[in-house]
Amino acid sequence: MTWLSQDRRNANLAQKAQALPANDGHAEQALAFDPDLVFVGPFADPASVALLKRVGAPVVEVDPAQTLDGVRREIRRVAAALGEPQRGEALIADIDARLARVASAPRQPPVSAIVLQPNGFTVGPGSLVDDVLTRAGLDNLAARRFDIAADSQVPLEVVASLAPEVLILDRSQERVPSLAEAELDHPAIAALERQTTVVSLPSRLWTCGGPEIVEAVERLAAAAKAARARGARP
């Protein structure tokens, strides 16, 4: 486990991870455990990964999924590497059942939405977050508007002027003071709540494509439902 897994703000299983020894992502630390398997992500130091392979350590490279199909694929790969394929399939079946429940709910009319991340970044098409929005019945404005560059910083007044029906604030759960997150507390966002359904979503749910992603879909589908009810009222 890396030290990042023990950070409760961003890791889903941090509490369990804190009971285990952590490393800083260096090959020699990993080898000191004499591991049966080493999982490495795409941001691991290539030199460390090369070293692990050279000394013959069993390395499994995990890709962060860009779609929900990718989430299933990675779960299968990890489960197979661990020799527990049936547990992987059970997890996938659970995710699929929950996704099907969301998909079977009424999805009309479409609800416009935009994601605001710390530092005013938004999320464009072709990303896992965009896939989550689509499955929740939301229409990602950042994917449709040609004047917003994908995954770029968007000035707050542009976010406000787009008048999305749902505004998704992507924030970490246990907060430390930062200007980046202070942006999400700007009074203009509170003032928009008269027109817009504002929903906060902990970023750990959907930053990496793990099984928690389905919870993100469910929460956003609920927000979409609320926005639809609001739109139908007047």
Binding site: V158, S161, L179, H186
Partner: protein
């Protein structure tokens, strides 16, 4: 310094009125400029009628604080620059160049990232003020009492470097994952997406600072004739120094706490306006305040009009104008020496 080029001086009252009008005009243009298309008149109508439309929210919560903070912070920086130049009798004294802004940024950073600002809102500008006081005292200990330009600049460089290192250190020690990005805000400054509560935080302390500095005008005029002359005219120099340091720290500290350190405004504004007030440091104060407000508002309009994404940091824009000016000033002073 006392040479007064004839013909450049203009009448003080009309000059003030013109600068005030220009400040107001720049603030109105700042309201009209932005990233989203905004029907300003419809937004104004909605805002005055209390209709919480999107246009009204953008105008009231985003554009208005940006323009008002631009004017307030610019006024503080211009006024503080003129006051420091009068006190140190040196035209190169700018709160950014000599490290006062850097000290304020460090003070604000400590208060913000320790979480204190989350408990008491006013702690944030007060942290900036405390940092500015420390930097100003350190500077005065090294370069006060008519020290040479070289000493002043070197002292400023040292204080700036030290404050910048402390700011980076404080951010390094904070558990904030965005720290590296936020160092840029504190060292370069920005007015992007500021809010009304931040304006209400900065304004009261700034007003007290302005009052202290503007009340020092007669003493600064006397000081330009030499310390002995000023003392013989009945001015208590110890009290004057304390009042000026307090005034500069209050308005610069409060400004930096909400916008980060923006350099060179306090250098550019007094430099451009000095000939127009006949090189009188007392009269230079108020006009430099308005001058600073105009400079900062215009710079902030320009950074929004340049099609750069994300927008150019305000401190970068002012440094691009101010640093060559500083270079030229130093060059000229060497030529005269």
């Amino acid at each position: 310094m006392s040479a007064r080029p004839a013909g450049a001086e203009v009448a003080y009252g009309p000059l003030l009125a013109a600068l005030a009008a220009l400040t107001l005009g720049a603030a109105l243009v700042s309201l009209a400029v932005g990233y989203a298309r905004l029907d300003l008149f419809a937004a104004l109508a909605d805002a005055f009628a209390g209709r919480p439309t999107v246009a009204a929210v953008v105008l009231e919560q985003i554009r208005l604080p940006r323009a008002a903070l631009g004017a307030t912070v610019g006024f503080s920086l211009g006024l503080a620059g003129a006051a420091l130049q009068g006190l140190l009798r040196n035209p190169l004294a700018d709160p950014g160049v000599i490290g006062v802004s850097g000290g304020a940024a460090f003070g604000a950073v400590v208060v913000f990232y320790s979480g204190l600002a989350g408990l008491i809102a006013l702690a944030m500008p007060l942290g900036g003020v405390a940092g500015a006081v420390l930097a100003a005292l350190a500077l005065y200990a090294l370069a006060g009492r008519g020290a040479g330009t070289m000493t002043l600049i070197l002292a400023g460089v040292t204080i700036n470097a030290f404050a910048g290192a402390l700011t980076a250190l404080a951010l390094n020690l904070s558990p904030n994952p965005y720290a590296a990005y936020e160092i840029m805000f504190w060292l370069m400054g920005s007015l992007a997406d500021r809010s009304l509560p931040q304006l209400w935080l900065a304004l009261p302390l700034s007003l007290v600072g302005w009052a202290l500095l503007l009340a020092s005008a007669p003493a600064l005029d006397a000081l330009s004739l030499g310390e002995d002359t000023a003392a013989s005219l009945g001015f208590d120099l110890g009290r004057l120094r304390a009042r000026l340091v307090a005034g500069v720290a209050l308005c610069v500290g409060a400004a930096v706490a909400v916008t980060g350190a923006i350099s060179f405004v306090g250098l550019v504004a007094p430099h451009l306006l000095r000939p127009l007030v006949g090189h009188r440091p007392g009269r230079l104060l108020l006009v430099s305040g308005f001058g600073g407000a105009i400079v900062l508002l215009v710079a902030d309009i320009v950074v929004r009009l340049i099609p750069l994404h994300p927008e150019l940091r305000l401190g970068v824009a002012t440094a691009l104008i101010g640093a060559p000016l500083l270079y030229g000033l130093i060059d000229r002073m060497w030529g005269e020496a």
